[in-house]
């Protein structure tokens, strides 16, 4: 049996001065460089809120959690809000257990995340 590494990638969309980072693949140690690069690109439009879209993420390990904690710390220093959408039930639970959900609102899908970002602008 072989399990192929599902490579991580992150792309940025910036509709109406907002920033959405679409995450794909597995968030583990291998994801660090691409994740930070995407976060830096998202800052181009100086957004107040950055949405992390997890719809295409199948696996996040503890190192991945640490990376997200790092992003969250960075965002808070510069007074930006980080919110999430598309997390599976399992990872929503992990965000609760780790208390990440206390600092990053969890929206089920992108539309509600965008609405949430707008209302708190």
């Amino acid at each position: 049996m072989t399990v192929r590494e599902k490579e991580f990638s992150a792309t940025v969309r910036q509709p109406n001065g907002m920033a959405i980072i679409d995450l794909r693949g597995e968030i583990n140690a291998f994801a660090e460089a691409s994740l930070h690069a995407a976060y830096d690109r998202a800052l181009d439009s100086d957004p107040a809120t950055i949405i992390l879209n997890f719809s295409d993420v199948a696996y996040i390990n503890s190192t991945g959690i640490a990376l997200i904690v790092g992003l969250l710390a960075q965002a808070r220093k510069t007074h930006r809000r980080l919110i999430t959408c598309g997390l599976s039930e399992h990872y929503q639970e992990i965000f609760h257990i780790t208390r990440l959900s206390d600092f990053m609102t969890i929206y089920t899908d992108e539309a509600s995340a965008l609405a949430g970002a707008m209302s708190n602008k």
């Binding site: 399990v3 696996y59 503890s62 039930e89 399992h90 257990i97 780790t98 206390d102 600092f103």
Partner: protein, 538 residues
């Protein structure tokens, strides 16, 4: 035109034998020369004979014909073709007259008359011989069918397993041309029982022989190996080099632990068994290629928990692929739907067969072997349930599988997927398989990183155990010795404020994902045991 040659050869052979036993007649054999003549159907000589009846003096012929040259070389002068219904069925070939005179008109007339009389007689002789050969062939096939049926029936189990709390029933009906179906029960030393069903492609004696070989290999492998996947892997590797081309064997190997009701199985391309329970019928999936196709195959292993009242049906394609007179196929969905009927055990077999008979109608010639085996779990055997002091019911865990992974970054994914495969059929409850996967991945990562320092020569060993109450995964690395300083509980606020490293979530996640976590260590090894209770025990 082979018939011609054979016919004449046979005639001549008869003559030669006579000549040997009666030496005084050697004078005759000297003037009869045997001519091995293969005349191509498109040889111009054939069409010449067809259009020009009667005796032919081949010295005068001007044809580009290989057969003609051969005849001339053999010293033939006259050819009298034997024709029947426009077909050349033989030839009388004559050399020069012994009197050294030319053949007269009378000679030719005599030969023509002879040919006219002989041709139908020769034709009749040929037909008789052909019929005899066909009858012989038919007899041989009948004989083969009998042999195949004997091999098959000799090797099928003579009795059914008698297991406390369970009922096993089986049915086997060979097609006229026996297919390669087989089933088998093996009794392992640890009390578990293997249920095997298989089907060899092809029919008759070749299929029966391959079936017999496969059965022997399965028995030998099951004696040494305890996991269904490993047994199939071994049999595949032994069978593959020897199996005739275009033949292979589908085979399902299921291992029942009667004490716990756990059924562990692997499948080499056989029809998926069904488990009929109180909440409906499900297919028991496990991936694997048929035996004998390719070397080096691995077989997915699954384990399910049987509940009292459950029936597992193993069957061969003779049932699902039977056809009605209008060509409609019985089909797998129909088999599955029929399992909603309340009949179980032998009654279920009878019910399926009567439905099959209704479907195919009267006068159906069975297309393939039909094999059905049912395993019904009637009740939990009482004596194996131990009551602990606190009143909690528990049963002993059994090892389902043990495997090793080299300590390389990313390999935790394999650990996670493999464990998920192994316990995928267990009743863990909604979302809890995901929790176990996360816990296994994190514990494996810790083992590879902290225990084995990512030294790929130091593997992480993973053992999966199940009981009727819970699932346990034991992950062992070589980080034995005194315990390291216990890391602090991660505090997100402190991490965000930069007072703690953003990392350090692994152990915390594991503890929150499982119902029980136990750590043991000795001088060399360190083991973390993750336990998740089954839904029924939560």
């Amino acid at each position: 035109m082979i018939a011609i040659r054979n016919f004449w050869q046979n005639l001549f052979e008869g003559r030669e034998k006579e000549a040997e036993t009666q030496p005084e007649q050697t004078a005759v054999s000297t003037i009869v020369n045997r001519i091995d003549l293969d005349i191509a159907p498109n040889d111009p000589l054939v069409s010449y004979f067809r259009t020009t009846p009667g005796v032919v003096d081949i010295r005068e012929l001007d044809l580009k014909s290989a057969a003609l040259s051969q005849l001339r070389e053999a010293g033939v002068v006259l050819v009298v073709p034997l024709m029947s219904q426009g077909e050349l069925i033989g030839m009388i070939n004559l050399g020069p007259r012994l009197s050294e005179q030319e053949y007269s008109a009378d000679d030719r007339k005599l030969l023509n008359d002879l040919a006219t009389q002989a041709a139908p007689a020769v034709r009749v002789a040929q037909l008789v011989r052909q019929q005899q050969a066909e009858a012989l062939e038919r007899g041989r096939i009948e004989q083969e069918l009998k042999i195949a049926a004997i091999i098959q029936q000799t090797l099928l189990p003579k009795s059914l397993p008698a297991i406390d709390g369970y009922e096993v029933a089986a049915y086997y009906q060979p097609a006229r041309e026996v297919g390669g179906d087989f089933y088998e029960f093996l009794y392992l030393d640890d009390g578990r029982i293997a249920f095997i069903i298989g089907d060899v492609t092809d029919k008759g004696v070749p299929a029966a022989l391959v079936m017999a070989t496969t059965r022997t290999l399965l028995r030998a492998a099951a004696e040494r190996l305890t996991s269904p996947g490993a047994v199939l892997e071994r049999v595949n590797d032994l069978l593959e080099p020897d199996i005739p081309a275009r033949m292979f064997v589908t085979c399902l190997y299921a291992l029942l632990d009667p004490k716990t009701g756990l059924l562990q199985f692997a499948n080499a391309g056989h029809d998926l068994p069904y488990r009929a329970g109180q909440t409906g019928t499900d297919e028991l999936h496990a991936r694997g290629m048929p035996l004998g196709l390719m070397p080096g195959m691995t077989y997915e292993e699954k384990t399910i928990q049987l509940n009292p009242g459950d029936t597992v049906l193993l069957y061969s394609d003779g049932l699902a692929e039977a056809h009605a007179p209008d060509g409609e196929m019985f089909g797998f969905p129909r088999v599955k739907a029929l399992l909603d009927h309340e009949a179980r055990g032998q009654e279920l077999i009878d019910y399926l067969l009567s439905e099959l008979a209704d479907f195919t109608g009267e006068g159906w010639e069975q297309e393939d072997d039909v094999t059905l085996v049912t395993l019904q779990y009637k009740a939990r055997p009482e004596e194996d349930v131990q009551f602990m002091n606190n009143g909690q019911v528990t049963t002993e865990r059994q090892t389902v599988a043990t495997f090793e992974l080299p300590s390389q970054p990313g390999n935790e994914r394999q650990a996670m997927e493999k464990v998920a495969e192994l316990v995928g059929g267990m009743n863990l409850g909604n979302g809890r398989l995901e929790k176990l996967k996360t816990a296994v991945a994190e514990a494996t990562m810790n083992a590879m990183e902290h225990g084995n320092k990512y030294d790929k020569n130091r593997p992480v060993r993973i053992e999966v155990q199940t009981s009727s109450q819970d699932v346990a995964v034991r992950i062992t690395d070589e980080g034995g010795g005194p315990p390291e300083v216990v890391s602090e509980t991660p505090d997100l606020a402190a991490k965000l404020a930069g007072e703690q490293s953003p990392r350090g979530w692994g152990l915390f996640l594991i503890q929150n994902m499982v119902d029980e976590m136990n750590v043991t260590r000795d001088e060399q090894y360190h083991t973390i045991e993750l336990v998740l209770n089954l839904e029924s025990n939560q």
